[in-house]
Amino acid sequence: MNNVFVYIELEGTEIADVSLELLTKGKKLATQLNKKLEAICLGSKLDGIEKELYPYGVDVVHIADDSRLTPYTTLPHNRIVCDLFEKEKPEIALFGATSLGRDLAPRVCSTTGSGLTADCTSLEIGDHTDPKTKKEYKDLLYQIRPAFGGNIIATIINPDTRPQIATVREGVMKKEIADATYSGKVKKIDAKSILKEEDFVIQVIERQIEKSKVNLKGAPIVVAGGYGVGSKDNFKLLYELAHVLGGEVAGSRAAVDAGYVEHERQVGQTGVTVRPKLYIACGISGAVQHTAGMAESAMVIAINNDQDAPINAIADYTITGDLNDIIPKMIKYYKLNTK
């Protein structure tokens, strides 16, 4: 009872990275609270899946194996998760902030009457005193996220409802094996007895999922452009620099919204989080929504027309000027001075 639960996202029988990242964070939270870590796997042909989860410190793996649970549809997964939460009364429940997690978690929260915070960038345990009633709360989940166009960082709590539910984007938390020899136990869920006919009013009639073409998370060098790049055409220069240096191109939300660069290259709170050894920010002002996704880069170079751009405060090098002037010089020097 009152343990930390992580919903495991599956594509077929393959576990999504974000779920392993959440298990890593969940283990830390559970240890701090002196609670157990439990995982929820809903799908089909899941024999042995628990072995992939135990090394992250999972104590209990709840498995519902039913061919109707894959591919994912909202209502059957919601029914089983809510039924499990009713029985197990989790203290905390974490979902990936993916199109699946952001479809399922709100529905679960509505059914269970729990509070939900989307797209958290940090999760911590802490106490709280209600400013009006002076009631004290111990060991709440602090759900921390940028809000409001990235102008503020908000800490959200759910003092009175359980579970405390949060979603976190892929790449925000680090994935680390806790103990390769760790072993927990499996609890089977009898899906047939829980699911109802009316849960299957939505049919998936076609499904095309591709391996991602862009590997931003794994790129050692990221050349990112913002609205200040000015046009899709100007982005070609960023691609050239990335190609020469062996990196990937990324964009801020403003650049994606303006159509300069594809959505899957978006870095920031509502995009991908990256930790490259070099992040070159071109024409990016540096709202928190963006910096939330790149602040842990080992080195940051900011190229900007505006000397007072917020991004300059977290940059190791700033270059003030026109990127159309600067980037060709960088490429030229690099080509001349490396093999």
Binding site: S99, I156, K277
Partner: protein, 290 residues
């Protein structure tokens, strides 16, 4: 065949344009201090509704929005583009609602409008980016949900087929009606205002707006009842008052920090060849690149 379509929409502060007084001390948004716009993805949802209306004569499209009195602006805006009317849910008792309290309030209005065929909304609103209200309304109304819709492929009186945009691909799903569909920004843009409709609905107003108006609209409202935008307060929805506003919101804002970047030792350079060469030499020497 005509369908009855309801579009959930929100007037949002333009978060791309935020000033100093944007937040109140209790951590909620000071909406009065910001330019207000039609939430972009809700416009995409409106377009999907209007496409169905074009193809299926007899279809009606109505907006439901919750917000302060001035949120009636987006109902008019929707009418200028082809919606038939709308409902504004406005009451001080709704203030401070998180997504759960918001979806509770909206679900009461939707239940009053039953039966309907299709509930549409944007995937998420730009002021919170949570994508929670749509699915939570669907849950409380007791209908299924299809989120992240890019295109409504087909619709019949019984069912709907929708293409969903996912991170690494797409899927096509079919659902029985009524259902909720939330629309992604990759769907087609909303048409612009129609000049005839703009003329027709220019004077559309809520009760509160009529009371504050300088001219007397009584005669006009009698002869043109379609100009009346319905306004519902908490009393009209017969709510459980414990579930409204701040009281009905399980999430609380513990604190808000303004963003301050930690100062870092920064090397400032200009566009001269000397400076750029220095930078590249350092990067290569430190094995950052090369």
């Amino acid at each position: 065949m005509g369908l009855k379509i309801i579009v959930l929409a929100k007037q949002v502060p333009d978060t791309r344009n935020v000033g100093q007084d944007a937040m109140k001390s209790d951590g909620t948004v000071n909406r009065a201090a910001l330019p207000a716009i039609f939430n972009p993805e809700d416009l995409h949802a409106l377009e999907q509704a209007l496409v169905i209306k074009d193809a299926h004569p007899g279809t009606t499209v109505e907006i439901v929005t919750m917000g302060p009195p001035r949120a009636a602006e987006i109902i008019r805006e929707a009418m200028y583009r082809g919606a038939d009317g709308g409902y504004l849910l406005t009451d001080r008792a709704f203030a401070g609602s998180d997504t759960l309290a918001t979806s509770y309030t909206i679900s009461l209005a939707i239940k009053k409008l039953m039966p309907f065929d299709l509930l549409l909304s944007g995937r998420q609103a730009i002021d919170g980016d949570t994508a929670q209200v749509g699915p939570q309304v669907a849950d409380k109304v007791g209908i299924p949900q299809i989120t992240y819709a890019e295109e409504i492929v087909s619709v019949t009186p019984k069912d709907i087929t929708v293409k969903r945009r996912l991170e690494r691909g797409y899927e096509v799903v079919k659902a029985t009606l009524p259902t909720l569909v939330t629309v992604h920004s990759s769907a087609v843009e909303c048409r612009s205002r129609n000049s005839k409709l703009t003329m027709k609905y220019k004077h559309a107003k809520t009760v509160s707006e009529l009371q504050e108006a300088a001219m007397d609209y009584e005669g006009m409202m009698k002869t043109r009842p379609y100009l009346q935008i319905t306004e519902w307060t908490a009393d009209d929805l017969n709510p459980d008052s414990q579930s409204l506003g701040l009281l009905g919101s399980p999430t609380k804002v513990k604190n808000i920090e303004n963003v301050v970047f930690k100062a870092k030792e920064t090397v400032d350079l200009d566009t001269s060849e000397k400076d750029i060469d220095f930078l590249m030499r350092e990067l290569i020497a430190n094995h950052i690149i090369g």
